[in-house]
């Protein structure tokens, strides 16, 4: 058996920060993680994080992981054991783990458990079918291994994870057919939702999945509207042609090890389910055991890091007798500030059930906008929700953006001070800042848009300007592309001045779509879009698009349409209904039916 002063279990943001601080204070620490790397779920996050610069806001998740990993590898007091799967915790803080197929034991005077969380289940018919994944699994395949598990996706749940997943899928080249959300409003941050709305992803509120379709693997999904008791409304069911379904209906803490360590757990749904009871300093009901991160309450990386700090500082204090009161109190204040916004209501009420009060030193507020200067190149801030982030304020080299003491307050721009440099557009994790300069005389406006997709447009590129809902507005020619090392580039184009408040995305021009049904002039796009909207029956497709219903009676296009339907649904043509043929099979004059010839 090996002996340590502390053992940290799990190397996500909470565990990494905790182990680093323990090591910095000379506490001999063992950090155990099941993966062959440290970093937890941060390594698969490609988006920039909200927060403040002390907690790496504006950096992407995998970059934050790198920073935290560096803090550990340069720390001689922290011993890291990777590929070490903790099996159980036994009396006297004895941790057993399996490594290289062998059982190992370690003892720690104190334990910091940061085992994180996993996706909540959502049972529906065929939810066990291959092709239905937790959202995190798709992120793992796509962002860690570069492997795309499907082509057409549907996401269940519009919390931040669902919204982020949709954006990441589009970045990696997949199609997201829809996000369905059982509630009447979007769960995640508006800025995350806006990022995908302008790319044309529909978010279907008051909807649920009824079942997944497929034999061996998902080939579709039936969704329906739901009533105020969350029951599907009969008659509203429709089919979506998707091959992959992502579940992102929330996370729940992984409490097993903390339970074995003697920590009392209670069911507090506001915090994610069963959670270990703990005090303000992350100490559980076992005085030797501390927790932090998603295990303590389902939140995000910044709060996990701060909790990891609080827990480890208190552990150092108890183990060494050092006086760290000031530092601990300071971190508690920072954490309370983070959680003081309207998006943390649930967390606050959950913590209150545990007897932990939120004592934020100030309240967030909606800051009053300053008078605009039309015609000047300046930033347009479209961040109207109180979320814990001040990266724009910090990034501005000219002090033109104000948020104030509480980082949950909304940002305002001082157009007088703004030089139009675009630094804030590049820094904003929500991609919620745009550039604008009106040319009132010529009734035109130059608009600059953050761009993180492939391919990156070039100067002179003809594109489509799209509005906030992803609808076409007008044709544009790209005027300027500013490339940034952090890969949030800035694309400028001129649009008619009337659209300066609506155009928020530039899309590559979709190829011209061939006519499939010559008689009724129906294009390939129209047919595909109708199928994508849930029409998978040939007869229904006919009625809605009028394919095969013109004078030729489908002789020209029926097989082509069936081919398209087969390709989209994965059902072979021989297994599709080919519809009913009715007279007349050739164009004839109606009068011919009135004039009787010889009946044979």
């Amino acid at each position: 058996m090996k002996f340590y002063e502390t053992i940290v279990i799990g190397s996500g943001p909470a565990g990494m920060v905790g182990a680093t601080i323990l090591g910095q204070h000379g506490v001999k620490t063992l950090l155990l993680d099941e993966n062959d790397f440290i970093g937890g779920q941060l390594v698969k996050q490609t988006h920039k994080f909200f927060g403040d610069h002390a907690h790496y806001a504006s950096l992407r998740g995998f970059e934050i992981a790198q920073k935290l990993q560096d803090g550990i590898s340069s720390n001689s007091n922290v011993e890291v054991e990777n590929a070490a799967t903790v099996m159980g915790i036994y009396p006297n803080n004895t941790v057993t783990y399996i490594q290289n197929g062998k059982k190992c034991k370690a003892y720690g005077k104190k334990l910091l458990i940061t085992t994180g969380a996993m996706e909540k289940q959502l049972p529906f018919v065929n939810s066990d079918l291959p092709g239905v994944y937790g959202a995190g699994a798709i992120q793992t395949l796509m962002n860690e291994y570069g492997i795309m598990p499907g082509s057409r996706f549907m996401i269940i749940g519009s919390g931040n994870i669902g919204l982020i997943l949709a954006y990441q899928l589009i970045q990696a080249g997949a199609k997201v057919r829809a996000i369905v959300e059982a509630l009447g409003k979007i769960g995640g941050y508006a800025v995350h939702a806006n990022k995908i709305k302008r790319l044309g992803v529909p978010i279907l509120l008051n909807h649920t999945i009824v079942k997944a379709i497929g034999d061996k693997s998902v080939s579709g999904a039936v969704i329906a509207e739901i009533d105020d008791k969350f029951k599907p409304i009969t008659g509203t069911e429709r089919e979506l042609v998707v091959d992959t379904i992502a579940i992102s209906v929330g996370l729940t803490p992984l409490t097993e090890l903390s339970e074995q360590a003697g920590c009392k757990v209670e069911f507090i749904p506001e915090l994610g389910g069963y959670v270990p009871i703990r005090n303000e300093r992350m100490k559980t009901t076992n005085p030797d055991v501390f927790i932090a991160g998603d295990l303590a309450s389902i939140e995000e990386a910044t709060t996990a890091m701060i909790e990891g700090k609080i827990a480890s500082l208190e552990m150092v204090q108890e183990l060494t007798g050092k006086d760290l009161e000031k530092e601990i109190e300071n971190e508690i204040t920072i954490l309370a500030l983070f959680r003081s916004g309207p998006k943390s209501v649930k967390i606050r009420s959950g913590l209150e059930k545990m007897g932990i009060k939120n004592l934020a030193i100030s309240k967030p507020r909606i800051n009053e906008p300053k008078e605009d200067i039309v015609g000047k190149l300046r930033a347009v801030l479209e961040c109207d929700e109180e979320i814990p982030c001040n990266s724009c304020e910090v990034s501005c080299p000219f002090g033109a953006i104000y948020i104030g003491e509480n980082l949950n307050s909304t940002p305002v721009l001082d157009p007088d001070k703004c030089t139009g440099c675009g630094t804030c557009v590049n820094a904003c994790p929500g991609l919620a800042i745009f550039m604008l300069k009106e040319d009132v005389e010529n009734r035109m406006a130059l608009v600059g848009i953050p761009y993180e997709l492939l391919p990156l447009p070039v100067k002179g590129q003809k594109m489509w300007a799209m509005n906030k809902n992803g609808d076409y507005v007008c044709d544009v020619t790209v005027e300027r592309v500013v490339k940034y090392p952090n890969k949030t580039h800035l694309v400028y184009a001129k649009i008619p001045i009337e659209f300066s408040q609506s155009v928020r995305h530039f899309s590559f021009i979709k190829k011209e779509s061939p006519i499939i049904c010559r008689c009724e002039e129906v294009t390939l796009d129209e047919i595909e879009n109708t199928i994508d909207s849930g029409i998978t029956d040939f007869e229904e497709l006919k009625r809605l698009t009028r394919v095969t219903m013109g004078p030729c009676g489908g002789k020209n296009c029926k097989l082509v349409v069936l081919g398209i339907l087969s390709r989209k649904t994965g059902v072979s043509i021989s297994n599709l209904s080919q519809g009913t043929s009715r007279p007349p099979v050739k164009p004839v004059e109606f009068s011919a039916f009135l004039k009787c010839g010889d009946d044979k």
Partner: protein
């Protein structure tokens, strides 16, 4: 769009050493560092086992070693989490159909 992502606006994927393993006796090419489940997904294979009671197809669900949905028979050993096991040259991977015996 299925399979290995070729170009990404943010990420670069390091794919260096190739390895070959066998899935149901079929040779599959993968890259060192990939998990069995990931490499099978790259090859378009999503059914990783059949359940022991109802014989239903099952696949990957959490991909981080928590849910036990992806258990496979790897090198003759049943109940191995294919999402946490890295591929190696010559590895023999099979869909699990039973609960597995004590060896």
């Amino acid at each position: 769009m299925k399979g290995r992502i070729k170009a990404h606006p943010i990420l670069e994927f390091k794919r260096e050493k190739r390895v070959k393993f066998y899935f149901e006796d079929r040779e599959i090419e993968a890259y060192e560092g990939e998990t069995v489940a990931a490499a099978l997904h790259a090859a378009g294979i999503r059914v990783l086992r059949y359940t022991s009671h109802r014989n239903r197809p099952a696949g990957l669900f959490c991909a981080i070693g928590k849910c036990s949905s992806c258990l496979m028979k790897i090198n003759g050993v049943p109940n191995v989490r294919s999402c946490m096991t890295k591929v190696s040259d010559g590895m023999k991977v099979r869909r699990q159909k039973e609960k597995g015996d004590v060896l």
